[in-house]
C-alpha cells in the first residue's frame, strides 16, 4: 500500500473515486450560474435547478418555496451522497470519512450547547444542525454542565473523544467557554486529521496536507480577527491556534501579538501564499477576508481533482459542494429579498 498506491488503490476505492469524480462533474457550471442569476423568482430558480443534476429535488416541497427549504433539500442531497460513499468505503478511507464528519459534529455539539444555554428547545436547534454531523448522543449534550461532564457522559464513545484531551476543565459552560471549547476542539481535530493524512503518505498526503495547512492557518487568522477587542488574553489566544499550518511556529507567535488588521496583514506578508490573499481584500468588489479565503479554498479543492489515487477528492468534493450550496443560497437570498446588486458576489467554482 505504501509504495504503490496506484496498483492497489482501485481494488478498494476505485468505485468510489469514480463516483465522486462523476459527482464533481455535475457541479453547477458557469453557465448555470449565469442562468440562476437571471432568475426573477424562486420558482424560476427551481426550474433552472431542475435542468441540472439537482433534478427534481424540490418536487415534493409544498408551496411557497423558501430559501431555507432549498438549503435543507440541498443539504439532504449532499448528505445522501456522502452516506453512500461512507457506507461503501473500506479502511482507511472510512476513517478518513469519519474525520471529515468530525468538524460538523463539533459544530453541532457547540450549537446544541449554546442552545441549551439560551434555553431554546432541542428540536428547534436540531433543525439547524448539519446533517453530516449527526450522531445519536448528540441531543444529550445539554445534560452536561462542565466539559469533563460532557466528555465523560456524552462524547466518550463518539469519534470526538480523542480531541477532548486538551480541553478538559471543570469550568462551567458559559458562552465564552463554549467558544473556547469549540476552538480547542477544532485545533486538536485539525492536528489529528493532519497527522492521519501525513501518516497515510502517498498522494493523499501530498494533496490533503496543503489543504489542511491552509485550513489551520485560516482558523488562526479568523481567531485573531475575531479576538480584537474582546477579553481574550494573548496567551489564551495563542493556545487556540492549530499548529499544523504553514504559520507554525513563527507566524503563530507573531499573530498572537497583533492588535489590529494592519498588523495581521504585516504578519501575513511574510508568507508567499497569504500575501496575495490579503492584498485582494477590499480590492475591486469589496471582498472580505472570508471571501478571499473561500476562493483560495475552492481553487485548492478543484486542483485536488487533477491527481488520481488519493482520498483528497472526497474532501474536495464535499467542500466544493458546500461552496456551491452557499452560492445557491446566496443567490436565492438575493432573489427573495430583491437585493440584486450583490447577487453576483458568489464564489465561482472554476
Amino acid at each position: 500500500m505504501l509504495e504503490s498506491a496506484e496498483l492497489y488503490f482501485n481494488v478498494d476505492h476505485g468505485y468510489l473515486e469514480g463516483l465522486v469524480r462523476g459527482c464533481k462533474a455535475s457541479l453547477l457550471t458557469q453557465q448555470d450560474y449565469i442562468n440562476l442569476v437571471q432568475c426573477e423568482t424562486l420558482e424560476d430558480l427551481k426550474i433552472h435547478l431542475q435542468t441540472t443534476d439537482y433534478g427534481n429535488f424540490l418536487a415534493n416541497q409544498t408551496n411557497p418555496l423558501t430559501v431555507s427549504k432549498i438549503d435543507t433539500e440541498m443539504r439532504k442531497k449532499l448528505c445522501g451522497e456522502f452516506d453512500y460513499f461512507r457506507n461503501h468505503s473500506l479502511e482507511p478511507l472510512s476513517t478518513f470519512f469519519t474525520y471529515m464528519t468530525c468538524s460538523y459534529m463539533i459544530d453541532n455539539v457547540i450549537l446544541l450547547m449554546n442552545g441549551a444555554l439560551q434555553k431554546k428547545s432541542v428540536k428547534e436547534i436540531l433543525a439547524k444542525c448539519h446533517p453530516l454531523g449527526r450522531f445519536t448522543e448528540m441531543e444529550a449534550v445539554n445534560i452536561a454542565e462542565t466539559t469533563s461532564d460532557l466528555f465523560n457522559a456524552v462524547l466518550v464513545e463518539t469519534p470526538l473523544a480523542p480531541f477532548f484531551q486538551d480541553c478538559m476543565s471543570e469550568n462551567t459552560l458559559d458562552e465564552l467557554n463554549i467558544e473556547l471549547l469549540r476552538n480547542k476542539l477544532y485545533k486538536s481535530y485539525l492536528e489529528a486529521f493532519y497527522k492521519f493524512c501525513k501518516n497515510h503518505g502517498d498522494v493523499t498526503a501530498e494533496i490533503m496536507c496543503p489543504i489542511l495547512e491552509f485550513e489551520a492557518d485560516r482558523r488562526a487568522f479568523i481567531i485573531t480577527l475575531n479576538s480584537f477587542g474582546t477579553e481574550l488574553s494573548k496567551e489564551d489566544r495563542e493556545t487556540l491556534y492549530p499548529t499544523c499550518g504553514k504559520l507554525h511556529p513563527e507566524g503563530l507567535r507573531l499573530l498572537a501579538q497583533v492588535e489590529d488588521f494592519d498588523q495581521m496583514k504585516r504578519v501575513a506578508d511574510h508568507y508567499g501564499v497569504y500575501k496575495p490573499l490579503f492584498e485582494a481584500v477590499g480590492g475591486n468588489g469589496g471582498k472580505t477576508l472570508e471571501d478571499v479565503f473561500y476562493e483560495h479554498e475552492v481553487q485548492m479543492n478543484v486542483l485536488a481533482f487533477n491527481r488520481q489515487f488519493h482520498y483528497g477528492v472526497f474532501y474536495a468534493y464535499v467542500k466544493l459542494k458546500e461552496q456551491e450550496m452557499r452560492n445557491v443560497v446566496w443567490i436565492a437570498e438575493c432573489i427573495s429579498q430583491r437585493h440584486r446588486t450583490k447577487i453576483n458576489s458568489y464564489i465561482p467554482i472554476l
Binding site: N60, T136, A140
Partner: protein, 861 residues
C-alpha cells in the same frame, strides 16, 4: 411495398393556427401523428416561452397525480388501464380536473393523517401495555425494601438516618432496539450508580406506524434515587426518543391500568377500522380518476410543449407553426385542421412552403418489413428520397445468414420458433412482455422466420441435418461398381485402409446428384475396421455412413464453398453498384451515371466478375476425364495481373490471354475516369454557368429546386460535411464558390476506397465460407463426441436407454445453446456486416434523419 423503395415525399408546411383553435388543432394532430413540428423559438429560453405557465400548471397537476399514484400503490392496489379514447381535454377543463384532483388529494391527505394519528396512538397504547406486562426482575417494591442485591446488604449503611426518606422512583418506557445499548451506557455514565436499569425485549413485535415494519421494542424500567437524577434520566430518554409511561408501584394498580389500556386499544381499533374503510373508499375514487387524468394531462402537456415551438404572428391573431408532413398526408392534415378549427368558428390553414433544409426521411413499414428496415436504420437513416436498401435486405439478409448457417435441422428449429412467435403475435401476454431479450427476439420474428426458412434450403444444398447427410435420392456414386471393376479382394482391403473411387471407371459415377451435394461425395474414403468381405454390400446400401468417413469431403466442400462465396459476393456488390443508378436517375445526375457508376461497374466486373466467369466456366466445361490436367484458376488469375503465362497451366479457352489483357487494361483505364471525371465535369459546369449566369438561373425557376436537391444529395452521398455542402450550393441567388481541390480530394478518397474495396470486400465475403465451415464442423464434433458415443454403447438395453436419454438431453441443450444461439448470433453479426459495409457502401449514404411526428401514441400506451 412500393413506398419501401425510397422514402416518401415530405414537404414543409406552414400552419396558421388561430389562437382560439390552436390548442384543438394541435391536439387533433397529436391524435393523428401526421406532422413533425420544427422549433421556431430556438433562441428563446424555456421559461420565457408563451405557454410556460400552462406547462407549469400541468406539472403541478402531475405532481398531485404522482402523490395519488404513490398512495394507491402503497395501499397495494393496482391501477386499471385507461379505457377508450381519451382526447386531450380542452384548456378550460384543466381547472376542473385540477380542482377535482386537489380535492381528492386533500381528502386523502386528511384521511391518511387521521389514520396515521390513530395508528400512532394505538402503537403507543400497545407499547404501554407491553411495558406493563413485562415483569422486570424482582418486583420494584421488593427491590426497595431488600436493596438491589442481597449480597451488598452488609456494605450498605443501616437504613435509618437521612437516607430513609429517599424514595425509590421509577421510570418505565420503551426504546427502539438499536438504540437500547447506547441508552443503557449513557444512563450508566451520566448517573453513575444512582439507578438500576433493566432492559428487556418486548414479548411481541409491533408494527411501526410509519413504515409498517414489525419491530421488537426494548422495554426498560429504571429505578433511581433522587430528583436530580430523575431529571437527567428524563432528558436522556427524551434525546433517545423513548416513550415514557407512568409506572405505578402497586401490582394491582398496574393490573388495573393494563385492563384499561386494553379496553382503550380495542376501542381505538374499532375506530381505525372505520377510518380504513373510508380510506379505501377515497382510494377507490382515486383509482377511477387517476388513469384517465394521467393520460389527459400528459397529452395536454405535450400539446403545450408543441405550441411552445410555434411563433406568434405579427398581428397576434394566430400562431404560426412550421412542420414536416408527408405529401400523401396533406389532405388528411387539411381535413383535421378544418374540422378542429371550425368548432371555434375560425379556420386554420396549412400551405406548403419551400425549404432549403433536407426534409426528414419517412418510410412506412408494416410488421413484416419493420425489422428489416430497422437493420438498415441501425446503420444510418437514409437521406431524403435515397434508394432504400431494406426491400433487398428482406431476401439477401436471411440468405447470406443461411449460407453461414446451413443445416436443415437447425434451420427447422429456428423456423418453428419464429413461426410460434408469429402465430402468437396477437396475444396480449406475448406483446406486452417486458423482458428485453424476449422483446429483441419478438421484434425480429419475421426476420428469424425467413432466416430459418433459408437455412433449411441451404441445409438441403449442403445436405446436412444436425451434421448428418440425408439420402433423399440415390447417390450418384457406386462403390460396388468400383469394387467389381478393380477386383478388391479381402487381402487388398485389409492392407489398404484408404480406397479411391475413380469416376473415370464406368459405372462408378452415374451423374450429378439431383439437388445439393451428393451424400457420397468422395473419391477417396476410409474403410471402417479391417476389410471384411461381408461388409462390402453394406457400404453400398449405407452410403451416408461412409460419407462422413471420407477423408477428402472437407477439401471438396472447402473448394465449393469458397467459390460460392466469391460468386455471391461479387453478385451482391455488383447489385449494390447498380442500385446507385436509381439514385443518380432520381436526382438527375446523369454525369454520375457515366462518370461513376459505369467505371465502377466495369472495374468490378472486369476483374472480379471475370473471376466468377472463370469459376463457372471451369465447372461447366472441364470434365472429369481431364481431371489430371485441369487448369488452375488461381494461377490464371494471378497471371492475368502479371501479364504472363505459365506453360504448365493449360488455358481454359482459346484466346484467353487476349481477353484477359483487354479486361485488365480496361479496368485500369477506369481508375482515372473515376478519379477525375466528376471533378472535371463539375468544374466545367461551374465555369460555364459563371460565364452566362443570368439566363441559366432565370430559365429554370422550377428546376432550381431540383438541381439544388441534386447537389445537396450529391454532397451527402460523398459524406461531406454540411459546411462544405453549403459552400458548394448555398442555393438562392448567388452561385456557389467552387473549390476544386476539395471536390478532387473527396473523389480521390472515394476512388481509392472503391478500388481497394473491390479486393478487400471480395475477400471479406469469404467469411461466408469460413462461418459455414465452422458451423458444419462444430455440429459434426457435437454429434461425434456426444450423440455417437451414446449410440455406440453396449450393455443392457434398459441401462443404455436411460443413459441415452441423458446423452440426448446434453446433445439437445448444446445444440440449442451453442449451435443455434451462439453460432446463430455470430452468423447474424457477419451477415449484418456484409450488408452494412460491403453492400451498402456501394450506394447508400445514410446521413438523413427520421421523421418523428408529434403523436400521442406514447401517452396512449
Amino acid at each position: 411495398m412500393g413506398s419501401m423503395f425510397r422514402s416518401e415525399e415530405v414537404v414543409l408546411v406552414q400552419l396558421f393556427l388561430p389562437t382560439a383553435a390552436a390548442y384543438a388543432c394541435v391536439s387533433q394532430l397529436g391524435e393523428l401523428g401526421l406532422v413533425e413540428f420544427r422549433d421556431l423559438n430556438e433562441s428563446v429560453s424555456a421559461f420565457q416561452r408563451r405557454f410556460t405557465v400552462d406547462i407549469r400548471r400541468c406539472e403541478e397537476l402531475e405532481k398531485t397525480f404522482t402523490f395519488l399514484e404513490e398512495q394507491v400503490r402503497r395501499a397495494g392496489l393496482a391501477l386499471p388501464p385507461p379505457e377508450g379514447r381519451l382526447p386531450a381535454p380542452p384548456p378550460r377543463d384543466l381547472l376542473r380536473i385540477q380542482e377535482e384532483t386537489e380535492r381528492l388529494a386533500q381528502e386523502l391527505r386528511d384521511v391518511q393523517g387521521n389514520h396515521q394519528a390513530l395508528r400512532t396512538q394505538l402503537h403507543q397504547l400497545q407499547l404501554h401495555s407491553a411495558v406493563l406486562q413485562q415483569n422486570h426482575g424482582p418486583p420494584p417494591a421488593a427491590a426497595h425494601t431488600d436493596g438491589p442485591s442481597s449480597e451488598r446488604t452488609p456494605l450498605l449503611p443501616p437504613r435509618q438516618g437521612p437516607h430513609q426518606d429517599l424514595r425509590v422512583n421509577f421510570v418505565a418506557g420503551a426504546v427502539e432496539p438499536r438504540k437500547a445499548a447506547a441508552l443503557e451506557r449513557l444512563l450508566w455514565r451520566a448517573c453513575r450508580g444512582f439507578l438500576i436499569a433493566s432492559f428487556r425485549e418486548a414479548d411481541r413485535q409491533l408494527e411501526d406506524p410509519l413504515t409498517g415494519e414489525p419491530v421488537t421494542w426494548m422495554t426498560f424500567l429504571i429505578s433511581y434515587w433522587g430528583e436530580q437524577i430523575g431529571q437527567k434520566i428524563r432528558k436522556i430518554t427524551d434525546c433517545f426518543h423513548c416513550y415514557i409511561f407512568p409506572f405505578l408501584e402497586e401490582e394491582a394498580a398496574r393490573h388495573g391500568t393494563l385492563q384499561q389500556l386494553q379496553q382503550q386499544s380495542q376501542e381505538l381499533q374499532e375506530v381505525l377500522r372505520e377510518t380504513e374503510g373510508f380510506l379505501s373508499q377515497v382510494l377507490g375514487q382515486v383509482q377511477q380518476l387517476l388513469p384517465r387524468g394521467l393520460v389527459q394531462v400528459h397529452k395536454m402537456k405535450a400539446v403545450y410543449l408543441a405550441l411552445n415551438q410555434c411563433s406568434v404572428s405579427s398581428t397576434h391573431k394566430c400562431l404560426v407553426a412550421e412542420a414536416w408532413c408527408a405529401t400523401q398526408d396533406l389532405p388528411a392534415l387539411q381535413q383535421a385542421l378544418r374540422e378542429s378549427s371550425s368548432e371555434a368558428g375560425v379556420s386554420a390553414v396549412a400551405h406548403r412552403i419551400s425549404s432549403r433544409d433536407m426534409p426528414p426521411t419517412l418510410i412506412r413499414t408494416n410488421r413484416f418489413t419493420a425489422s428489416f428496415q430497422s437493420i438498415v436504420d441501425a446503420y444510418g437513416v437514409g437521406c431524403y428520397q435515397e434508394v432504400n436498401p431494406a426491400p433487398y435486405t428482406i431476401i439477401t439478409f436471411p440468405f447470406l445468414f443461411a449460407v453461414m448457417f446451413g443445416d436443415v435441422g437447425h434451420g427447422l428449429l429456428m423456423f418453428l420458433f419464429a413461426l410460434a412467435m408469429v402465430l402468437a403475435e396477437n396475444r396480449p401476454a406475448v406483446r406486452t412482455a417486458q423482458n428485453e431479450i424476449w422483446q429483441t427476439f419478438f421484434g425480429g420474428r419475421y426476420l428469424l422466420l425467413l432466416m430459418g426458412l433459408f437455412s433449411i434450403y441451404t441445409g438441403f444444398i449442403y445436405n446436412e441435418c444436425f451434421s448428418r447427410a440425408t439420402t433423399i435420392f440415390p447417390s450418384g456414386w457406386s462403390v460396388a461398381a468400383m469394387a467389381n471393376q478393380s477386383g478388391w479382394s479381402d487381402a487388398f482391403l485389409s492392407h489398404h485402409p484408404l480406397l479411391t473411387l475413380d469416376p473415370n471407371v464406368t459405372g462408378v459415377f452415374l451423374g450429378p446428384y439431383p439437388f445439393g451435394i451428393d451424400p457420397l461425395v468422395p473419391s477417396l474414403f476410409c474403410v471402417p475396421g479391417t476389410g471384411d468381405s461381408q461388409h462390402l454390400p453394406g457400404w453400398a446400401c449405407h452410403h451416408h455412413q461412409v460419407w462422413s468417413l471420407a477423408t477428402n469431403h472437407l477439401s471438396f466442400l472447402n473448394s465449393f464453398k469458397m467459390k460460392m462465396s466469391v460468386i455471391l459476393g461479387v453478385t451482391h456488390m455488383a447489385f449494390g453498384v447498380l442500385l446507385g443508378v436509381f439514385n443518380h436517375v432520381h436526382f438527375r445526375q446523369g454525369h454520375r451515371l457515366l462518370l461513376e457508376t459505369m467505371p465502377e461497374l466495369i472495374f468490378l466486373l472486369g476483374l472480379f466478375g471475370y473471376l466468377v466467369f472463370l469459376v463457372i466456366y471451369k465447372w461447366l466445361c472441364v470434365t472429369v476425364t481431364h481431371a489430371a490436367s485441369a487448369p488452375s484458376i488461381l494461377i490464371h488469375f494471378i497471371n492475368m495481373f502479371l501479364f504472363s503465362s505459365s506453360p504448365t497451366n493449360q488455358p481454359l479457352y482459346s484466346g484467353q490471354e487476349v481477353v484477359q489483357h483487354a479486361l485488365v487494361v480496361l479496368a485500369l483505364a477506369m481508375v482515372p475516369v473515376l478519379l477525375l471525371g466528376t471533378p472535371l465535369y463539375l468544374l466545367h459546369r461551374w465555369q460555364r454557368s459563371r460565364h452566362s449566369p443570368r439566363p441559366a438561373v432565370g430559365q429554370q425557376d422550377n428546376n432550381e429546386d431540383k438541381a439544388r436537391c441534386v447537389d445537396s444529395s450529391d454532397a451527402y452521398e460523398k459524406g461531406w460535411s454540411s459546411d462544405e455542402e453549403k459552400a458548394r450550393c448555398p442555393g438562392g441567388e448567388e452561385e456557389a464558390e467552387f473549390v476544386a481541390s476539395e471536390v478532387l480530394m473527396h473523389q480521390a478518397i472515394h476512388t481509392i476506397e472503391f478500388c481497394l474495396g473491390c479486393i478487400s470486400n471480395t475477400a471479406s465475403y469469404l467469411r461466408l465460407w469460413a462461418l459455414s465451415l465452422a458451423h458444419a464442423q462444430l455440429s459434426e464434433v457435437l454429434w461425434a463426441m456426444v450423440m455417437r458415443v451414446g449410440l455406440r454403447m453396449c450393455g443392457e438395453v434398459g441401462v443404455v436407454s436411460v443413459v441415452l436419454v441423458l446423452v440426448f438431453a446434453a446433445f439437445a441443450v448444446m445444440t440449442v445453446a451453442i449451435l443455434l444461439v451462439m453460432e446463430g448470433l455470430s452468423a447474424f453479426l457477419h451477415a449484418l456486416r456484409l450488408h452494412w459495409v460491403e453492400f451498402q457502401n456501394k450506394f447508400y449514404a445514410g446521413t438523413g434523419y427520421k421523421l418523428s411526428p408529434f403523436t400521442f401514441a406514447i401517452q396512449d400506451e
